[in-house]
């Protein structure tokens, strides 16, 4: 039965996180934007403690609870709750969200592709006393957003039963937090056999402090400056055999790779949610600031009776809302195990556009005030732009969505 009602879990999560956002993010958003490289420990410690206490409201869906719900034939909503959490955290400050411990793409990869044993091992440590970060390293300098072009390698040393990883990964979000500032881990995508193409690609858990691993470079960015983005170099970096996520054998089919790609069906709408959180922040701030300047935004007028500003605000509002519904539907499908390659890519490409347009328009609507760093509007415009870039650019997501819509495979549409 179609319903647009928020569950209690969602309402509660939103309420809690909004309080955090108001008190621990927004007041220091500007500071950490200007002081790129500083780590927001206050926020990290607080969130770690809070998430530990909340348990089920963790930013990583609790797969045990999901299973229980499944058994009890109750509707699953872990991902939907998570999407709301992420949206609200990003409404607070998307850079801070990316500095939220316990979550991160590394643990999401484990959750989605790991065996039950791996999940126990790699997800439970998130719940320790000290905050822990995880990250995921896919992109390589020459591969762009195309994950099938990965050149990092993993070779099994049969004597020690260890995987030997070699390669370089760029643009790793929270790479420093996961591997240098906390005792976390990263999930590295590498190939078991370069000749095997997609079918040879697997992901490997590499814990902080593993010999042969190092951080080579820290990027200075347009936005989300509080969140670190780094380059990893792996030189004969060894991890135990059971650190491979998924099937260690190369099958002729590309099922393994496809399985790994499933992760994206979850993460894409979640990334969409980050951008839409920022966009909503910008929309609300614009309305507030305009109101403070004496602008009355009338409701319900036909377009030909509106002012230009009223029209922009209405356009922003419907863009944000419709894009959010698209995102919710995609992630709801994940909760309900409905195949959603198309919907997740669509939500990402749509939210990428919407968050860029809305935040850029927000700056314009406040004139010189929008252009000033006195207000956060300009920051949000910089922050939001990443939505259309990471986890696959808008172009990659159009490719993925189009393939799903047209029933094409990679070779049919490049």
């Amino acid at each position: 039965m179609i319903s647009f009602e928020k569950s209690k879990a969602v309402v509660q999560a939103q309420y809690l996180i909004q309080t955090v956002a108001d008190n621990m993010m927004r007041p220091v958003s500007r500071y950490f934007d200007e002081e790129e490289g500083e780590i927001p420990w206050d926020y990290i410690e607080f969130m770690h403690g809070a998430l530990r206490q909340m348990g089920s409201a963790s930013l990583t869906p609790d797969h045990e609870k999901q299973k229980e719900a499944e058994k009890a034939k109750k509707p699953r909503q872990a991902y939907v709750v998570m999407a709301h959490q992420i949206e609200m955290l990003s409404w607070g400050d998307v850079g801070f969200y990316l500095c939220t411990p316990r979550g991160g793409l590394g643990s999401a990869a484990v959750e989605s592709a790991g065996t039950p044993e791996q999940k126990d091992k790699f997800l439970s440590i998130l719940n320790g006393e000290k905050p822990i970060f995880t990250s995921m390293a896919i992109t390589e300098a020459d591969a762009g957003s195309d994950n099938s072009a990965i050149r990092a390698t993993a070779v099994l040393d049969e004597e020690t039963n260890e995987w030997i990883l070699n390669g370089e990964k760029i643009f790793v979000t929270a790479g420093r937090l996961s591997m240098e500032n906390t005792e976390g881990y990263t999930v590295i995508w590498a190939s078991l056999d370069l000749e095997a193409g997609r079918s040879g690609i697997r992901s490997f858990v590499v814990p902080a402090g593993t010999p042969g691993f190092k951080i080579a470079k820290k990027e200075e960015k347009l936005g989300i400056r509080v969140s670190d983005t780094v380059t990893f170099v792996l030189e004969d970096c060894r991890v135990p055999y059971d650190h491979i996520l998924g099937n260690p054998k190369i099958e002729k089919s590309t099922e393994g790779f496809k399985g790994a790609m499933q992760t994206f069906n979850v993460t894409r709408p979640l990334v969409a949610a980050t951008g839409l959180g920022v966009a909503r922040a910008a929309l609300e701030e614009v309305k507030k600031m305009l109101e403070e300047q004496g602008v009355v935004l009338r409701d319900g007028l036909p377009r030909n009776k509106m002012t230009s500003i009223e029209r922009d605000v209405i356009d922003m509002e419907r863009m944000v809302r419709s894009s959010w519904l698209l995102t919710l539907k995609a992630i709801w499908m994940s909760d309900n195990k409905i195949s959603n390659a198309k919907e997740s890519a669509m939500s990402k490409l749509h939210a990428g556009d919407v968050s860029s347009k809305v935040t850029q328009k927000a700056v314009e609507l406040l004139g010189p005030m929008g252009y000033s760093r006195e207000f956060l509007l300009e920051k949000w415009m910089r922050d939001a732009k990443i939505t259309d870039i990471y986890e696959g650019t808008g172009q990659i997501n159009r490719l993925v969505a189009a393939r799903a819509i047209l029933g094409y495979r990679g070779k049919d549409l490049r």
């Binding site: 319900g300 007028l301 509002e317 499908m333 549409l413």
Partner: protein
């Protein structure tokens, strides 16, 4: 808890509407547009699907409770078949639904059953006015109290089936507020004008309507003496029009998608070109986004949520641009073939532009 899955009853209705849209509406659409008339037999067949009847309580001759969400789901499917056809079949809803929403018990008992229980007959409504800033909340047609009657004065345009209507709900400005009035046929001063000629939707017969001090009994004011709140009526009209927009856009998207997979040029299908494939991906995303916005508005209206009217407005605002963007691309993807009337994308392109101006032409 969120859910995006229609219930069983809705699925059945969607199915019925979809089948009718495919087998009856779509094949008849081109000729209806060119000839300016939809085959009455097809209208009757559509009427018999019971889409309107399904959301009228049995007290008034129907067989279900009103759910705008359910209507919207069916409406979208019909509009995928043909917009003019969908609007023709559902013209009586323009009359019945406002009475159901805002009428007195007496008005409901008197007026709804004769429409619902019979074959399709022309019952309709007159909301649209001829101005660049046409605004249902600020109509130029006036209603003035005159003893035991209201005098209606003004001109309405694009009134479906006005020439044969048994009764029409006329919307007019009464002391600054929009109110609906039940106007039976044959009243003095009620003049049906010319058949309208429009950019699209010519399969739907619409007319101008002049009201030259038409005297309507007080009892015919929607909601009786006390009148009614116009907001939920307008919101239903906006949401329904948004659903129609989604249907028209979906039709264009699906046609262009299929065409692009079959059109082979220079060693590949045009869908294999990024430029075409990306257009298609964007069309799909935008249709779905506005579709969900429309669903949400309908859901909220059904629940009587405080911000429901705003949601309906938002959905229509989104639908206006979405429909134009998608139907324009539908033509573009077919290229020269999109420009000739053998393919339906050009009709959808014309219908698509209508969404901006046609609030009040459909109500689910």
């Amino acid at each position: 808890m969120y859910s995006f899955e229609p219930n069983e009853e809705q699925k059945m209705l969607i199915d019925v509407a979809k089948r009718y849209a495919e087998t009856d509406l779509r094949p008849a659409a081109h000729e209806a547009e060119e000839e300016g008339i939809f085959d009455p037999k097809l209208i009757e067949k559509g009427w018999e699907l019971g889409i309107l009847q399904a959301s009228i309580p049995d007290t008034y001759g129907g067989f279900g409770d009103r759910s705008l969400l359910t209507s919207v789901l069916a409406l979208e499917e019909l509009a995928v078949g043909d917009m003019a056809g969908a609007l023709s079949i559902l013209a009586p809803s323009l009359f019945v639904t406002p009475i159901l929403i805002a009428g007195t018990e007496e008005q409901k008992t008197n007026w709804i059953p004769p429409v619902i229980e019979a074959e399709w007959k022309a019952y309709t409504a007159a909301m649209i006015e001829y101005a660049y800033d046409y605004d249902p909340n600020e109509l130029k047609t006036t209603a003035t109290l005159d003893g035991d009657s209201y005098l209606l004065k003004g001109e309405k345009r694009f009134v479906p089936f006005a020439d044969q209507a048994e009764a029409i709900i006329v919307y007019a400005n009464l002391d600054g507020k929009t109110q609906g009035f039940i106007v039976p046929k044959g009243l003095e001063g009620l003049e049906v004008g010319e058949r309208e000629a429009t950019l699209g939707t010519n399969g739907l017969q619409t007319f101008s309507l002049v009201l030259d001090n038409v005297k309507v009994p007080k009892a015919n004011r929607l909601g009786g003496e006390a009148g009614h709140d116009f907001a939920p009526i307008l919101a239903a009209a906006q949401t329904s029009l948004a659903a129609v927009a989604v249907g028209v856009a979906r039709a264009s998207f699906e046609y262009a998608r299929d065409y692009s997979k079959e059109r082979f040029v220079l060693g590949s299908f045009i869908a294999q070109k990024q430029s075409i494939a990306f257009m298609i991906a964007e069309m799909a995303a935008e249709v779905e986004a506005i579709r969900l916005l429309t669903w949400e508005a309908a859901y909220m209206l059904d629940k009587g949520e405080e911000t429901a009217a705003h949601s309906a407005y938002l959905a229509l605002m989104g639908a206006i641009d979405m429909a134009m963007m998608v139907t324009d691309r539908g033509v573009q993807i077919l290229g020269g073939h999109g420009y000739i009337r053998e393919h339906p994308v050009e009709l959808w392109f014309r219908n698509g532009r209508g969404i901006a101006s046609l609030t009040g032409l459909v109500m689910g």
